[in-house]
Symmetry: C2
Subunit: 153 residues, 2 copies
Amino acid sequence: MNDDVLVLEEFLPYRLSVLSNRLSAAIAEAYSRRFGLSIPEWRVMAVLALEPGLSAAEVADRTAMDKVAVSRAVGRLISTGRARREVSAGDRRRSMLELTADGRRIYRRIAPALQRYEAELLAVLDPPDRRQLEALLGRLESRAAALQPPRIE
Amino acid sequence: MNDDVLVLEEFLPYRLSVLSNRLSAAIAEAYSRRFGLSIPEWRVMAVLALEPGLSAAEVADRTAMDKVAVSRAVGRLISTGRARREVSAGDRRRSMLELTADGRRIYRRIAPALQRYEAELLAVLDPPDRRQLEALLGRLESRAAALQPPRIE
DNA sequence: GTTGATTAGTTACAAGTGAAACCATTATAG
DNA sequence: CTATAATGGTTTCACTTGTAACTAATCAAC
């Protein structure tokens, strides 16, 4: 085994990237075709559906998006009548975001379809394997957060 | 458990996307800072290092990139003197691509650093867990390829 | 209070990306 | 052969994205 040779197809970050892109593209295609939503818009909807009243910054860290992306996604959701913004009473810089009735209706159409899709994907794994996958992912996530970035001399 | 509620943080495609983006960003930052390479350029280099003489289309399917992205990445690699293109003798539409000496030098600087990084990431897993992770990923990859995209009614 | 620093969020600009149109070359059908 | 289709690759255009600069509001220090 040659230590200096990196086989892209076997490199974990690359494999994750390809898998993740395939899944995201398939999913995004579905809700984009049906409701004209982008990935950022869907993510914002997904968190607001569960926690109405969040501020843009709170949405940002729950969705791993940056504030500019959130701002744009929220702007589109509002202009399409799917979300609403109310300036916060105590702090007039903040605003509280929530879905409109229409936004909630759309969410309730999308969410179950995506859960079905996830279930079909996970159907190749039996329950112990599924638990193992979650566990391994969790450990990689925290490791990735803790890890020093690569240094190239 | 409410069936209609999708918790983004627990949704597998979302988790994969966040993890993958974090890893890719950390890695890309390193080689971009050091050599001004973009992700597509690095991917092209990585396959040409192992298989010099590939055509652009062959590079495309080994890197999961589309042909436009490959064309642009190759264009930049050539203009920065890191790759070379030779029109194929038999078929003058094709060309054979390869790294220049400079390109190979850069590859040999990057590859080991990325392997070290991968090793540090995987260091949280003992060898059986690592094998299990590879196996699970493999099964998800083929399942994802076979799966019907989600349908939203 | 007034000044300077922080924080929430938006805007502007450059760069990156994807889909479709395009050019050149080779393959196929009659 | 000649016409049409298919293939390899590049270019174009509209759109998205990321970074930095910016505005507005609040906070902290004096």
